[in-house]
């Protein structure tokens, strides 16, 4: 199977940015803000539908950062100070863990515009992965990061179950912290075993297709252990990954989500080049049964919406050409 989808928070369209800024300066009321979010959400959903993406998200325009809905709505957490979002000129608020992490309500469903998602197309939801959540939190309660990771994994298990019940067919767990390693420290093998177990906890009994999407770092650094992670697909940031090292492995039984669209660069990719890269990679890393998703390397919110939309269209055309070639080759 060849598919394509977005992998995170989409940029807010211009009009919505204007309204949010006005709201911040107390120039418009909450109702106006809400209306602007609704209009913009319809626009970004429509762009995905038009591009015929395999799974549709609501664009996550309301998400202030990837962690925030959980920081604000899981029990035992408080919203902390601003911190840099990896190596970007963007910031998130640290989750501060003060007590046992507990989920007492539906979190993603309550912030998602489910009513605008097309009924006849499959939906995708995106959540922070346990390792990233633990790594980016300020822990004032648990013994160590490992305990935080498992407590969060337990908490989102119900969340994922709830999303599956609502009708989401694809769950992506975003795990940038797992591969972001600028100081090139050796990743402990036992830590990767814990990550695998935490993923198992989070995904237990979930009747959805799943992906662990990594970005901002080199995916080849967590191989071969990642091949055993209990998810269907593995997401790779092609702008940070050592491709030669990647080619040393075969992804049998796993789908790959190739982050081929650079969400941190505004240059529109050359479609022929992307096709060549996919062909080269699939010849070595995947078996014939391996599913391939063409996608942005990370959240497209680092771009203005117009550029993001152009990239979504490129992604769609690349996936279509790949599909056509696959059919042509039987």
């Amino acid at each position: 199977m060849i598919g394509c989808y977005v992998t995170g928070i989409l940029p807010r369209p211009k009009k919505l940015i204007e309204v949010t800024r006005a709201y911040d300066r107390k120039k418009v009321d909450k109702e106006t803000l809400e209306k602007a979010f609704q209009e913009a959400t319809k626009e970004v959903i429509e762009a995905q539908v038009q591009a015929e993406l395999s799974y549709i998200t609501d664009g996550m325009l309301k998400w202030q950062d990837l962690l925030r809905p959980f920081t604000e709505n899981l029990e035992g957490l408080a919203v902390g100070s601003l911190a840099r979002w990896f190596n970007n000129n963007a910031f998130y608020r640290k989750p501060v863990i003060l007590d046992t992490i507990r989920r007492t309500k539906n979190i993603v469903a309550s912030i998602t515009y489910i009513q605008f998602l097309p009924k006849d197309l499959p939906w995708k939801a995106i959540l922070p992965a346990p390792y990233t959540f633990a790594k980016l939190s300020e822990n004032k309660f648990y013994k160590n990061e490992r305990e935080v990771m498992f407590a969060y994994a337990e908490a989102i298990r119900e969340e994922i179950k709830n999303l599956a019940e609502i009708g989401f067919q694809y769950i992506q767990l975003s795990d940038p912290a797992l591969v972001y390693n600028p100081l090139k420290e050796k990743i402990p093998k036992d830590m990767l075993v814990d990550v695998k177990e935490a993923l198992r906890t989070a995904m237990k009994n979930a009747k959805v297709r799943s992906c662990l999407h990594t970005f901002f770092g080199d995916f080849s650094e967590i191989l071969p252990e990642a091949l055993d992670f209990p998810v269907n697909d593995l997401g790779i940031d092609m702008y940070e990954t050592n491709v030669d090292k990647l080619k040393e492995y075969t992804f049998d039984g796993k789908g790959v989500a190739l982050g081929l669209l650079d969400a941190r660069g505004s240059l529109i990719e050359d479609e022929d080049e992307l096709l060549r890269v996919v062909n080269e990679l699939t010849e070595t890393i995947s078996s014939k049964t391996c599913d391939i998703f063409v996608c942005p390397n990370c959240d497209l919110e680092f771009l203005p919406w117009e550029k993001a939309r152009e990239k979504i269209e490129v992604m769609s055309r690349v996936a279509k050409t790949l599909k056509a070639r696959m059919h042509a080759h039987g």
Partner: protein, 385 residues
């Protein structure tokens, strides 16, 4: 300097409502005009009637708008002087913002629109679409104006090339590198490097040369993005860019960096050539209790790392938190300075500063903070003497 603990500001000061509205050509309320006059009186600015006349005009000419910039720069200069600072500039009143100001005045860039910084805050991000070209001076006029209007030591804040590159999409060089590099990662890295050093050569150094020719003796390179990418490759790139920026100029250079990872910066600080001072933010990390012991002065711990890593230059010691309205008492400023002096071992290496520019604070708050900073420096001097 003829005294220890000279005081300095870092750069920006808030733009008063009268400056913003009048520059945009919007009508001002009587209250806003009165505020301008009142501040003029407080700061001893002469002939504020001329300013009032411009502010009251319904239609403002290009000359009026330029005059408004000059008036607000003059006010900022007087504010710093009246607060008692030793080293000053004009509060960056001529600049729209540290990034936009340079990019808008340089050829080769196109603004693509706003991208999210956090929550409902955004910044206008440009793409480099052709080789950057220096077309006109962008800091010279404000420097000349400041020089004309003060006898204090002038330090020119200058947005550094590493930050400009880090905050800009790199379309031109990534496209150019497309056929040269094997994979995307290598391509982005080589394109970034070429962009950075072209910017230094084509834009940054020509402007520095103009400033020096016009009499600038101290330029502060502002690099808030310095440790955004803490990998060794990126930090080496940052160091190389700084060294290339200042190479061969007969001028004092310093570096300002704030809200960053100082453990990372400390490792590379000693490699910065011709960098007489590191102006760093510490007050934001510190407690507000009085005292000079380790338990109280938690915000200044990282000074030790710079010392241990072999940095021997001066410090612009941030003793004023620019993100709160809390007015630091002189005694707190004194204790922060004395604690730092103890760590550094040589009080002559400490210049007393705000953490960063004061652009997010109201003038009343900034003025009160700066006055106390000056008083605190004096208390510290008295203690050591």
């Amino acid at each position: 300097m003829d005294k220890i603990f000279p005081t300095q500001e870092i750069g920006s000061l808030a733009k008063p409502a009268w400056r913003v509205k009048a520059y945009r050509g919007e009508p001002l309320s009587q209250e806003e005009i009165s505020e301008a006059i009142e501040w003029g009186r407080k700061l001893g600015v002469e002939d504020t009637e001329a300013l009032a006349k411009i502010l009251k005009k319904r239609e403002k000419t290009v000359e009026d708008r330029k005059a408004v910039l000059q008036w607000s720069a003059l006010y900022a200069i007087r504010l710093f002087e009246t607060a008692g600072l030793d080293i000053i500039f004009d509060g960056e009143q001529w600049r729209s913002e540290m990034y936009e100001h340079v990019i808008r005045n340089t050829e080769g860039f196109e603004f693509l629109g706003y991208v999210k910084s956090f929550d409902y805050r955004y910044f206008n991000k440009a793409a480099c679409i052709s080789k950057p070209k220096y077309v006109k001076p962008f800091y010279l006029d404000e420097f000349l104006f400041t020089k004309e209007n003060t006898r204090k030591i002038i330090k020119v804040p200058f947005t550094g090339p590493y930050t400009l590159v880090d905050w800009t999409f790199n379309e031109y060089y990534e496209k150019k590198a497309a056929s040269q590099a094997r994979d995307f990662k290598q391509r982005k890295a080589s394109a970034r490097r070429e962009f950075l050093f072209d910017l230094v050569k084509e834009v940054v150094r020509p402007e520095i040369a103009k400033l020096i020719e016009a009499g600038a003796t101290w330029i502060q390179i502002d690099e808030p993005a310095a440790t955004t990418n803490p990998s060794n490759e990126e930090m080496q790139l940052f160091v190389e860019a700084f060294n290339e920026t200042v190479r061969g100029f007969n001028c004092t250079f310093s570096l300002h960096n704030c809200y960053s990872n100082y453990e990372v910066l400390a490792k590379y600080a000693s490699q910065l050539r011709n960098c007489s001072q590191l102006a760093l933010e510490f007050a934001n990390r510190d407690s507000t209790q009085l005292g000079t012991d380790n338990k109280v002065r938690v915000g200044y711990r990282e000074l030790k790392i710079f010392e241990e890593q072999g940095y021997h230059g001066n410090y612009g010691l941030g003793v004023i938190d620019v993100h709160t309205d809390f007015i630091e008492p002189p005694e707190l400023v004194r204790d922060r300075i004395l604690y730092a002096a103890k760590i550094v071992g040589d009080p002559g290496r400490i210049f007393v500063s705000t953490d960063c520019g004061l652009r997010t604070r109201k003038w009343e708050v900034s003025f009160a903070k700066l006055k106390n900073m000056v008083l605190g420096a004096e208390l510290a001097r008295m203690t050591l003497q």
